[in-house]
């Protein structure tokens, strides 16, 4: 943001490049401040690890036994761990701006869209890490035999994308309110139910092992959910950020 020319670009294409550049700058800033404090990373990963260890301790004796509903139970437990870990850490990016009183500076320096995109990339990275760690632990500790790892990964990736798309705008909303921690879960959960229902069923299908034709429709729903909420966030973010 060296000159005023870069803030009001002459053409639309240049404008988009400017916003993407700025979003990259926001993303790098987020990563840097996260590496310094490791607040969100610690909170999220420790939460996920303790949840899955607790679940594994509880389910240890029944896991190897033959139970026709076992894949669905395991999928639900995995998504619960991911969901609640996400609730503990994903709001951090916006809350910390308000707590450190840096939000106003960011508002002046960067276009709203770039702030949203930068923070969405950062949350994607964070949730990607979280999902990878918890899924790996889950497979190892609960001795889950996934029939098709590529399908399993695809469901987790698209489900996480939807989770980020839904929660990033909510994080921006609750950063301006009081009682934020509780409010984040309260506001996010109802919006995430359709995603969770589909993601849990699809994950159970991949654990059982089905064809790509059978896993296709749930994957399409997950992708449509992520795209719809991401687009809505792009449209609404400016209202929230400048409120």
């Amino acid at each position: 943001m060296s000159s005023s020319d870069s803030v009001r670009p002459p053409t639309e294409a240049a404008g988009w490049r400017h916003i993407l550049d700025a979003s990259l700058a926001v993303f790098i800033k987020e990563v840097r401040s996260e590496v310094r404090t490791r607040y969100a990373l610690n909170a999220i990963l420790l939460f996920a690890v303790s949840t899955i260890v607790a679940v594994s301790l509880g389910l240890g004796p029944i896991a190897p036994r033959r139970n026709p509903d076992l894949p669905l139970i395991q999928a639900a437990l995995l998504w619960m761990a991911i969901l609640f870990a996400a609730f503990t850490g994903l709001a951090r990016t916006f809350i910390q701006e308000e707590d450190a009183r840096t939000a106003a500076a960011l508002r002046l320096a960067t276009p709203a869209l770039a702030v949203f995109l930068g923070k969405a990339w950062f949350n994607t990275l964070l949730l990607g890490l979280l999902t990878t760690v918890s899924a790996t632990l889950f497979l190892v500790l609960l001795r889950v035999g996934v029939a098709d790892l590529v399908q399993f990964g695809a469901v987790l990736a698209l489900g996480s994308a939807g989770l980020v798309a839904a929660t990033t705008l909510i994080a921006a909303i609750i950063a301006r309110a009081s009682a934020r921690g509780a409010l984040f879960a309260v506001l996010s959960f109802p919006l995430l139910t359709p995603l969770l229902v589909v993601a849990i069923r699809a994950t159970a299908l991949t654990i059982e092992g089905v064809t790509w034709a059978a896993i296709g429709p749930p994957l399409q729903i997950l992708a449509a959910y992520a795209v719809a909420l991401f687009t809505a966030s792009l449209l609404l973010f400016e209202v929230v950020w400048e409120a």
């Binding site: 839904a166 705008l169 909510i170 909303i173 609750i174 301006r176 309110a177 009081s178 009682a179 409010l183 309260v186 506001l187 959960f189 109802p190 919006l191 139910t193 359709p194 995603l195 229902v197 589909v198 069923r201 429709p217 749930p218 729903i221 449509a224 959910y225 719809a228 909420l229 809505a232 966030s233 609404l236 209202v239 929230v240 409120a243």
Partner: protein, 328 residues
């Protein structure tokens, strides 16, 4: 007393008398729904509250869009009042639905897709009110609440249309109440996919055999309200090419029917049916139902106007106090 006040008082009185009449008609005039008994009467209340919920939430979302467009407190007041009325009617629809489900399906709650979506709707608007109460500054509260309202509205299509389609079937009207409706049922194969789901009922084909002109299917049934497994024997008349014997699910009022059968391949198409058809083809029920719709709509409009007026009054008091406050 001004004329408008007198009209509104008269309208309120009329509404009270009208709703009283609807309640009396619901129990005294509407005939018993064949097979459902007195439980069927609750539909007179359940259906109007459910569709008023939908309309209220649509109005609320539209008012939020208009608020973000024009930034006027009036639009915010409309959005809140509509959401509050919608929330109240949504709770009523949920409760009446749960009572009906207990009487007819044997469980208060069975995660039927429509129950899921109405519960999530309640949660969304509870969250909307929680968000409003957590922000003190009025302008910011209005903007953030409008943004959340619209963001939540984006997930509605997924709830209302996508999730129910992931589930195989629903016990709600399009499937169970109307014989020969769109819901096609499931095909059970003796030598293949033997076990399938009809709504939340698990059906498994045990055997399929010919007894004279009838094809009799032995179907193992597990319902959510029931712990033990029950075997039903619905049959299909091969000469008339129509379902013959339709046994009822244990503890419920619905019947299991064989819709089509292929004895050589050992497959049977089964579906849930409601006892008796055409609830509204009965004139007395139809008119009571219409009167209930009008009554509930009037009730909703009255509540909505009351709330919107109060919220605007609060806003006006705040604005009048504004000059004495420090500028933000």
């Amino acid at each position: 007393m001004t004329l408008s006040q007198r009209t509104s008082d008269g309208a309120k009185l009329l509404l009270g008398v009208w709703m009283g009449g609807v309640v009396i008609a619901m129990f005294a005039i509407v005939p018993e729904y064949v097979g459902l008994g007195d439980a069927g009467r609750i539909i007179i209340m359940h259906v109007p509250t459910a569709w008023i919920t939908t309309i209220a939430f649509l109005i609320s979302a539209a008012a939020s869009i208009r608020y973000l467009w024009r930034r006027r407190a009036t639009d915010d007041a409309i959005a809140v009042a509509a959401a509050e009325v919608g929330f109240l009617f949504c709770a009523l629809a949920t409760i009446t639905g749960a009572i009906f489900a207990q009487l007819v399906w044997g469980v208060f709650w069975n995660w039927d897709p429509r129950q899921t979506s109405i519960l999530v709707l309640l949660l969304i608007y509870a969250a909307y009110f929680a968000l409003r109460s957590a922000i003190d500054e009025p302008e910011r509260r209005q903007r953030l609440a409008a943004a959340y309202n619209l963001f939540a509205a984006v997930t509605m299509p997924f709830l209302l249309f996508v999730v129910p389609r992931v589930a195989d079937s629903t016990l709600h009207p399009t499937c169970a109440f109307v014989q020969g409706s769109r819901c096609a049922g499931v095909t059970l194969e003796r030598d293949g996919a033997r076990i399938k789901q009809l709504g939340d009922i698990i059906v498994a084909l045990e055997s399929l055999e010919r007894r004279g002109d009838l094809a009799v299917a032995r179907v193992e049934v597990r319902t959510p309200g029931l712990t033990e497994v029950v075997v039903l024997e619905p049959s299909y008349d091969l000469n008339a090419a129509a379902p013959a014997d339709r046994p009822t699910f244990p503890g419920q009022q619905f019947m299991l029917a064989v819709k089509a059968v292929d004895l050589t391949r050992g497959t049977a198409l089964v579906n849930i049916e409601a006892p008796g058809t055409g609830l509204l083809s009965n004139q007395r029920t139809l008119w009571t139902f219409m009167a209930a719709n009008i009554g509930f709509l009037g009730l909703a409009i009255w509540l909505y106007r009351l709330r919107a007026g109060l919220i605007l009054l609060e806003e006006r008091i705040r604005l009048r106090g504004a000059p004495h406050e420090l500028p933000a």
